[in-house]
Symmetry: C2
Subunit: 255 residues, 2 copies
Amino acid sequence: MATANSSAIDGSETMHAHIVHAHPEPASYNGALTRTACDALSDQGASVSVSDLYEAGFDPVERGMHYDDRLDPDTFAPLAEQRHASRGGTLAPEIRREIAALERVDLLILQFPLWWHGPPAILKGWMDRVFVNGGLYTSRMRYDRGYFRGRRAIVSMTTGAPREAFGPGGRGGDIGTMLWPIHYSLHYLGFAVLPPFLSHGIQGHGYRYAEDDALQAMLANNLRSWRARLQELDADAPLAFPGWDDWGALGEAIR
Amino acid sequence: MATANSSAIDGSETMHAHIVHAHPEPASYNGALTRTACDALSDQGASVSVSDLYEAGFDPVERGMHYDDRLDPDTFAPLAEQRHASRGGTLAPEIRREIAALERVDLLILQFPLWWHGPPAILKGWMDRVFVNGGLYTSRMRYDRGYFRGRRAIVSMTTGAPREAFGPGGRGGDIGTMLWPIHYSLHYLGFAVLPPFLSHGIQGHGYRYAEDDALQAMLANNLRSWRARLQELDADAPLAFPGWDDWGALGEAIR
């Protein structure tokens, strides 16, 4: 079974971390979280790369025009064209770059603000376009038999609402439910998904409150927590998801 | 409290339905579902409009370049710029058009395929850009006090995997969890959210299986079910969500 070439899972080489960053404003608190992660991981001796989707002008809209060598020039079936381009080596250059970055990772970090109970469109579309059928998964190569098995992934997400709004029955909704689509998609590709790092109460992106000492202290303390978390990832148990042994031929639960 | 101008909630005028369609291929089964909805609703005497996001080339990426009259030209804070542009009448033309379409609706239909456990990026970004702060919601005008209260919304979604995969513990995951972010966002704006219409087992978009009689019969039957469902919407109880009476000042549950 195909898997990504693992470079450092046994600790014998430098750990590589890749951050996919999805916020339109570099001066935002999301920007500070990504810079903190870069510093913290570099300090541990890891190599770190970043895909700043806004800076790159990444187009998140999956559509026919991205495929130069169409299997079917008349009707666009996304999965069939992904499979064809992936196997024929004709994926768009920006997609090949993103896949190459993923193939190096021991740790993948997704950094984004919560917008409408999910990731910004630019990150959703990164998933739509980069997680290619035939290349990063097939009907058999997914979930606990996924391409990236043995690699870890973690979401770092900011919310505008305070922590209290996300408790059971709270106004903001349940974070686990909100993140399930991303977490399960990472599991689909084989990643071991670590519990998310959440930064609540991030309104106006932090930089607007330079005069508010209590808020500044909270924001700085939260960055220290993120740094500390990244130093202790080995202590984190991945989230539990079902796998192939749990399902029948149609995907129905069998136990 | 501001609300959208309701034209037909009392049944005295023609009902208006608006479909937001998010699939890259007009010949897809999603296309057939939207055409079926247009026909079924027109046959009932409703007026129907469609926003075909792919056809329109809608840009789903919320970013500073969409705002001509910036509150802060140096740092981009999305919600602050949405509020400023919404109140100053300087929202981008395509956003004003989408909002105008929403303001007419008695029934909103979102038509899309399930990609990576959520909507395609073009629809997620339609939410990111069109559901503007200050215009369609404020800190007080949301949830059961939302702008669109009294209006109804329904998701029509296709999945590639068969129905069995979406049962409890199934491989595909739980549809209610997957749709929660969209449903709760519609609730946030005040919509009464009807149970979704789901079309399972839609692989290769239907048109690839013209020679498969059993599949063609299933697909045709499913379109009849969609038509029937749209004729009986008044029988549907909206999904239940918490509201202001359930929460304290920080958004925490109080009962």
